[in-house]
Amino acid sequence: MAGLELMNLSKAYGQVEVLHDINLSIADGEFVVFVGPSGCGKSTLLRMIAGLEKITGGDLMIGGTRSNELSPKQRNIAMVFQSYALYPQMTVAQNMGFSLSLERRPKAEIAQKVKEAADSLKLGPYLDRKPGQLSGGQRQRVAIGRAIVRNPKVFLLDEPLSNLDAALRSETRVEISELHQRMETTMIYVTHDQVEAMTMADRIVVLNAGYIEQVGSPMELYNNPATEFVAGFIGSPKMNFVKGKYADFIGAATLGVRPEHFAVGQSDEAWQGTVTLVERLGHDTILYVKVPEAGMLTVSLNGQHDQNVGDTIFLRPLQEFIHKFNNEGRPIAA
């Protein structure tokens, strides 16, 4: 196990810099999630940590050792790929034991370690199968098992759930969280899915256009977003941003209200709007409401409600939860 220090890390392809001055400390045993939209640099950053991409500026310290020039093997990290990257000609057992066989470990030791990892991932019955004979979820577990067997200092996971269907995704999400608790190894997880980030991370690193927007615990990011971008990215459904009359009224360039922070009912401060779409999820009801001078708003109501398309509705943002942003997208202190 080891902690990581990313000091002024940058990455450029020729003249084009895609990651700028990344500074980040990751504690030993921490579960950190890099999240951001496509092209923000999160996978590139992960690959730089893995040693698959050259670091063009700054320092990467793994366990206190400068690791910029070290090979992936010397860094003692393991990585789980989005595409699983299992060796198709090898059996599950051979895939999982490949790194140990390269180290010329005794066969009995390899078999023992593979069996332990396979048992912990419920892969025992599949050890003699080839990857092509497994389902997507089983393949992903083999990829995780391959990483476990090496007992690495740091686990890197690059969007490992994105090829799985919704049910399997949530199941595997829980398995990875349990695995982290059990192994207490440093894990860095890349995803563009903020639900994965919120549910798994000790800390989330939000990246945008090659910069770190904010680092914090899921609730810190949810309650106190450092930028308008983070406010919009964290939370599902995403935060409503209102400009114009209603923002001016409270002295902000942009007023941010999360969908769950509206009260429904007629009052003096309420905004009148028309329901244009209703999504009934059972535990929640999501309304899409067109409000003059505020635009289209998303409203999340707890439980089941009987609003229908075309209904007139009155919405009041809960003052204690609203977010105010200035012209630069920075929060305005209350």
Partner: protein, 270 residues
């Protein structure tokens, strides 16, 4: 309905045209000399293998056969190794001068052998490799390597990069990745390369005629010329020699046909 019959007819005519020289050659090789007065398409009435025995022993074909086999097998094996290693570097390793090297290989594809036969002869002679099988093998490899690097490159490009990266993370060296991860999944390209290079080497006449002037070093294709003088022609010897030369190729193709076609089309579509 008629379209299908017309198609079958056309295919049948083409098949007869393609097969008839081979059939006539086999007929001639099995005929006693006394039956040679009959038209060529007459099957042998009294089948004899005397011409095969004569060609194999007196004609020196046993030696030619061994020489050809040696050169072709070494050609095929070495070509698989060097072409796949070069293609592996082209696809999976970043290095300075990669583009220039790719252009060089591309140029190698464009130059016909006949255009460089004389300089090639001089180079082989200057290295003292005339009349050696090693000289022929080196020349064969140099002339065909571009084609097979191109073929392996097309195949490797279709291999997910993540496999290479996963192996690096697992601690494999480039050579271990090549040998244990990439090559086992490139078997169609390996089989195609080995077969094609074997066939080219087996059938080649020009380089062997030029570089192997001593009789004991010669190959089957050159040996066949012995049966054809300026004024005379040993038809039965020529036919038997041709059949001897064709048999290994036909057997190989029958065995590996499926792999061969798969390898040829690999990389054409994702």
């Amino acid at each position: 309905m008629y379209g299908r019959w017309i198609l079958l007819f056309v295919l049948g005519v083409i098949a007869v045209l393609m097969a008839s020289p081979l059939i006539l050659t086999v007929f001639t090789s099995l005929k006693p000399t006394t039956e040679l007065v009959n038209p060529a398409w007459y099957p042998p009435l009294n089948v004899t293998f005397e011409h095969y025995v004569r060609v194999w022993t007196e004609g020196g074909f046993s030696r030619y056969f061994f020489n050809t086999l040696l050169i072709s097998v070494v050609d095929a094996a070495v070509m698989v190794v060097i072409a796949s290693l070069a293609a592996y570097a082209m696809v999976f390793i970043d290095f300075r001068g990669k583009l220039a090297l790719q252009v060089l290989f591309l140029i190698g594809l464009m130059i016909p052998v006949t255009a460089i036969v004389l300089p090639l002869f001089q180079i082989v002679r200057s290295f003292g490799l005339l009349n050696t099988h090693f000289g022929v093998i080196v020349a064969d490899l140099a002339l065909a390597v571009s084609v097979f690097v191109f073929m392996f490159t097309s195949y490797f490009v279709g291999v997910p990069k993540a496999l290479h990266e996963a192996a690096r993370i697992d601690g494999a060296t480039e050579f271990q990745i090549y040998r244990r991860v990439i090559m086992p999944i490139a078997m169609p390209a390996v089989v195609t390369t080995a077969l094609l290079e074997f066939l080219w080497s087996w059938n080649d006449l020009l380089l062997r005629l030029l570089l192997l002037t001593q009789d004991e070093m010669r190959t089957l294709s050159v040996g066949l010329l012995n049966f054809q003088g300026t004024m005379t022609r040993d038809v039965t010897g020529l036919s038997s020699g041709t059949v001897i030369m064709a048999i290994p190729v036909v057997i190989l193709f029958l065995f590996f046909q499926r792999h061969f076609v798969r390898g040829m089309t690999a990389g054409a579509v994702k």
